[in-house]
């Protein structure tokens, strides 16, 4: 069973590597939004620093939402998804492989870029470590939860807006704890608390998401 997992992971990563443009899109989106904030609000460093943690996390949410929509789309169109659903291998494991690939393609680059974006928003230096650690776990939670919504809406023609309506409420705890970890660190407090909660959220969504997504895909494929 490990074989199917690895095969799907390798295939998805290879596909993503072939269309490098699609990987770059969320990252470019990130940079453009970061440019918009000072233009719309203020270029003043002290005021930007106050809102930086929240802005960065809201952006991570939006970027994840935009990219997760396509998680099952191409597989649905070319019939690969149908093969996955009826294959004897456990579906939740295949789903987990796809989610892991999605995180490696979107969540991880965003996490690695976060310090640069934080710098552009004059995030105080104490905030960088909790920002990166939080995003590392948080983007994985976002991919896991987003996959449920993507599975539910993959067969629908206008799934995009519906997906955000479904998934956004589930994202809120991630936003709260991610942003507050950064904020607390900036204010000079320990960040173990919110980061531990983030870890708990990750473990919890690992627990429910593969099964819920597998169920959602079965519904989408066979009604």
């Amino acid at each position: 069973m490990g074989y199917g997992f690895a095969a799907i992971l390798r295939r998805d990563l290879l596909l993503a590597f072939r269309n490098r443009g699609e990987i770059a899109n969320p990252i470019i989106f990130f940079f453009i939004v970061v440019t918009l904030i000072p233009l719309g609000l203020t270029p003043e460093a002290s005021r930007l620093a106050v809102i930086a943690p929240g802005i960065l996390w809201v952006m991570a949410l939006l970027a994840s939402l935009l990219s997760v929509e396509g998680l099952f789309h191409s597989d649905y169109r070319d019939g690969t998804l149908e093969q996955l659903v009826i294959s004897p291998q456990p579906l939740y494991l295949m789903v987990l492989a796809k989610i892991l690939a999605h995180w490696l393609i979107t969540g991880l680059p965003l996490t690695l870029l976060a310090p640069v974006l934080g710098m552009m928003l004059s995030l105080p230096s104490a905030g960088y470590l909790p920002l990166v650690l939080g995003l590392l776990m948080g983007t994985a939670v976002l991919s896991l939860l987003g996959a449920i919504g993507a599975g539910l809406t993959v067969a629908l023609r206008k799934g995009g807006l519906l997906l955000s309506l479904i998934v956004m409420p589930l994202y809120m705890p991630v936003l709260i704890f991610g942003a507050s970890a950064v904020q607390r660190s900036v204010d000079g407090f320990s960040v173990q608390g919110p980061l531990a909660v983030m870890g708990a959220l990750l473990a919890f969504s690992l627990l429910i998401s593969p099964f819920a997504t597998a169920g959602a895909l079965r519904v989408s494929m066979h009604g």
């Binding site: 456990p90 000079g188 919110p194 531990a196 909660v197 708990a200 959220l201 473990a203 919890f204 627990l207």
Partner: protein, 152 residues
């Protein structure tokens, strides 16, 4: 040798147990932390609150402790949680619900002398709904009790 289906089930069970215990363990760890940065006066008196960083404190406003400056909006009062008292300094307009004997929450920093320099004062309304007659009666009873304590 186990057959593949059994092995798969075993992996699944192990995965569920590990993830669930991880979630519960991390949650309990997080709850031990003072997660909301709220310090009651007894904690501040015991020196548990760090000075110079933005924290919150709160308690009942002590009767007769509110002193207002005549020429500015400066005000000074004590808050208590029944065990210890903390002095709060604040410059600004106090909310309407602020009154002695009522609960207040202050946001600000502790200075080196242990005085709380508040940048924000919020009055807390409680959830004890009472008819006005009952409230009056309770206040009167409270005053009578106070008087008898004073007299004795």
């Amino acid at each position: 040798m186990m057959n593949p289906i059994r092995r798969q089930r075993l992996f699944l069970v192990i995965f569920i147990v590990v993830a669930a215990s991880l979630a519960v363990g991390l949650m309990t760890y997080a709850l031990r932390d003072n997660i909301n940065l709220f310090y009651p006066p007894s904690d501040i008196a015991a020196g548990e609150a760090p000075p110079g960083v933005r924290i919150r404190a709160g308690g009942m406003v002590v009767d007769g402790s509110v002193e207002r400056a005549s020429d500015s909006l400066f005000v000074r009062f004590l808050v208590t949680d029944g065990e210890a008292e903390v002095e709060v300094h604040y410059t600004g307009i106090l909310p309407d619900l602020f009154a002695t004997g009522e609960a207040a929450v202050v946001t600000g920093e502790l200075n080196e002398q242990g005085v709380f320099m508040a940048s924000e004062v919020l009055a807390k309304h409680d959830e004890n709904y009472t008819p006005p007659e009952v409230a009056d009666a309770m206040n009167a009873a409270h005053e009578r009790a106070q008087q008898s304590v004073d007299e004795s």
